[in-house]
């Protein structure tokens, strides 16, 4: 059971495949290989409904990639902590029981991983989305950072295997032993809804910047 699960949410139909495409792109780009084998697992979920709960069970960190409609310009990428999500978050569902409902259920049953992050990409009508590679370029460092922070919190040392980091340097976990969190919610770092890129209204975005 991988401690970090990245779940692409969507459907192969009806244009609701953005979460899948992003997850596939991260897999192709080698994100799991950035960490020791078995630590990070990427899965595509086809309108999982309540099955989202077993898909996350046992994980320390779950990162969901999903389409979102919140009124922002298409291509806007938002990072939400589960703690900030409610039914009005605007996550799109092409089936009756969506991600927001599944997470609300998991929260009520106290069956969620200690940390759940959602990267929502604002969708519009094709072809208004920016190129997938641009979105991946933003997601890559953000997700690596999330995973590293989470593993540090769990005091899991890891060996970066490639990708711009210095060879096989063992990265020691940050923080003193007393700061180790076991299960339960992470501290207040959940209270964040972060817009990772700003997309000018009415124009196709060509450049992004991380905030």
């Amino acid at each position: 059971m991988s401690p970090v699960r990245i779940l692409g949410i969507g459907s192969p139909f009806a244009g609701d495949d953005l979460g899948w495409r992003l997850a596939e792109a991260l897999e192709r780009a080698g994100l799991p290989r950035h960490f020791p084998a078995g630590m990070v697992h990427i899965t595509l979920c086809d309108r999982p409904g309540s099955l989202l709960l077993p898909a996350m069970r046992g994980a320390d960190l779950a990162i969901l990639l999903d389409a979102m409609r919140s009124g922002a310009p298409p291509g806007t990428l938002r990072r939400l902590d589960m703690l900030e999500l409610d039914d009005s978050a605007g996550l799109l569902s092409s089936h009756g029981f969506g991600v927001a409902a599944a997470l609300a259920l998991g929260r009520a049953l106290e069956e969620l991983p200690p940390r759940v992050l959602i990267y929502g990409t604002e969708t519009g009508h094709a072809p208004s989305l920016p190129p997938l590679s641009d979105l991946v370029a933003i997601l890559w460092p953000a997700i690596i950072g999330d995973i590293q922070a989470s593993l540090d919190g769990l005091r899991m040392p890891y060996v970066p295997l490639f990708g711009g980091l210095e060879g096989a340097t063992v990265v020691e976990p940050r923080g003193a032993p007393g700061e180790h969190h076991q299960g339960g919610h992470h501290p207040a770092q959940g209270a964040e809804v972060q817009v990772l890129n700003e997309v000018p209204e009415g124009s196709l975005p060509t450049e992004f910047r991380c905030q």
């Binding site: 192969p12 409904g49 309540s50 039914d87 009756g96 029981f97 009520a108």
Partner: protein, 432 residues
């Protein structure tokens, strides 16, 4: 002077209907003038997609029609195609298809009972709200749903849009060890499933007897699932190939789902219709559990559908236990097929009711024409009739919120599978 107002409500609880639906209600002088349930169903497009495809592709393609009941689509399709090829499934294939199908009933019914319907009867706006007060109830539902998915995965390779079924049988036979592990889980779930029948009957279900015609398959000695004749509470008893002679579909401008009628009248398919027509085919412990509820079946109360679903979960678990007893993997999990041209029919009992398919194949086994009649479109006219009656009984003078709640509860009770698209139900009420 006419006073008319339009109200649009987008309702979170509508996440508990699969897909998109809208209800238009026009009230004039205290009577319902117009009541339209507008829904959108994808199978019409699939029928065209199937044209020109090889017969081997059909089971995987039709599995994509629905994320909740893909097995039903596969089973109706292979039955029709095997009928054309003159290929009769051997006893192992027949039994394991039934196990596969039981998995789908278990997961679909568990989902509906616990996550979609129960909040209505326990007085909660959503299952998350209900889960705080009734966590064990919700966990039971999720566990049963997971078991159903596990059964589908064992034969289908995965639980959503499974890929294990093929014309002639399955691509792979589970090992004895896999089956033994499943049997253990099924055995452990049985007491809970029996208790579920009593639990559903103990809910505060409205008492609302209605006049409707039940339609379901009937098999000489089994509770219907993969095969049988089409029968009705009105005395109909026909082979599945005669479906088109008795059941007519027509289009209404407000809905992309076709309306079906039997001899010009709405009819009911699904768990309650099945149970009403096949009580004598249930396993004895299920009949006894139903008897202890004090509810007299056949029932004319549509709200007893939830009890019927629970009974079918119980029955399906007993059926899986029976069919997997003394399991051994066959030499080959499928019989080879030799294509030939012809027209074939398939009709099986999807969780939501009768799912009828017809295929015309050419000599190479390519699809020339396909017709698929899903259960929800068959129930559409019945849902509208029920809505009309239920809202009038409730009282049309009630405020819009009360009308909306009642309408949603009535619609959800049919467990309509209105796949795809968005998940908002907009209710427009016009009063004059």
């Amino acid at each position: 002077m006419t006073q008319s107002r339009e109200i649009s409500l987008s309702v979170p609880v509508l996440a508990r209907v699969e897909g998109e639906g809208a209800l238009d209600l026009e009230v004039h002088g205290g009577h319902i003038e117009t009541l339209r349930l507008r829904i959108f169903e994808p199978p019409r497009l699939f029928e065209k997609f199937l044209e020109g495809r090889e017969y081997q592709e059909v089971p995987d393609m039709v599995a994509r029609i629905c994320g909740i009941c893909p097995v039903a689509y596969q089973m109706s399709a292979v039955q029709a195609i095997e009928g054309i090829f003159g290929l009769a499934p051997d006893p192992w294939v027949r039994a394991m298809r039934r196990v596969f199908y039981c998995g789908e009933w278990i997961q679909s019914h568990s989902l509906h009972i616990h996550l979609l319907a129960a909040p209505d009867f326990l007085g909660y706006g959503s299952v998350a709200e209900m889960a705080r007060a009734h966590p064990d109830t919700v966990r039971r539902g999720l566990a049963l749903q997971a078991l159903g998915n596990e059964i589908i995965r064992l034969f289908g390779g995965r639980s959503v849009h499974p890929v294990g079924a093929r014309v002639g049988g399955f691509h792979r036979a589970p090992s004895r060890a896999e089956v033994a592990a499943l049997q253990e889980q099924v055995g452990a779930a049985l007491p809970g499933a029996e208790a579920l029948v009593a639990w559903t009957a103990s809910l505060n279900l409205p008492n609302d007897a209605q006049d409707f015609v039940s339609v379901a398959l009937r098999h000489p000695d089994e509770y219907p699932m993969n095969e049988g004749r089409i029968v009705s509470s009105g005395g109909l008893d026909i082979p599945i190939s005669d479906y088109e002679a008795h059941f007519v579909e027509h289009q209404e401008p407000h809905s992309t789902a076709l309306y079906a009628s039997l001899e010009g009248r709405p009819y009911l398919v699904g768990p309650l219709a099945r149970l009403n027509l096949n009580l004598d085919r249930l396993h004895t412990p299920v009949r006894e559990a139903l008897g202890r509820t004090g509810i007299a079946f056949p029932s004319r109360n549509m709200f007893h559908s939830i009890v019927a679903r629970a009974a079918e979960i119980h029955h399906a678990l007993l059926e899986v236990t029976r069919l997997l007893e003394d399991y051994s993997a066959p030499e080959a999990p499928f019989a080879p097929a030799t294509p030939r041209s012809g027209t074939g029919h398939g009709c099986t009992e999807a969780p939501r009711g009768l799912l009828w398919h017809r295929y015309d194949l050419d000599a190479a086994g390519q699809v020339r024409h396909a017709r698929i009649v899903p259960p929800t479109s068959q129930n559409q006219a019945r849902i509208e009739a029920d809505l009309r009656r239920s809202l009038e009984t409730l009282g049309l003078e009630r405020d819009d919120e009360a009308l909306r709640q009642q309408a949603e509860m009535v619609i959800r009770n049919y467990d309509p599978c209105i796949s795809c698209a968005t998940h908002f139900l907009t209710v427009r009420v016009g009063r004059r």
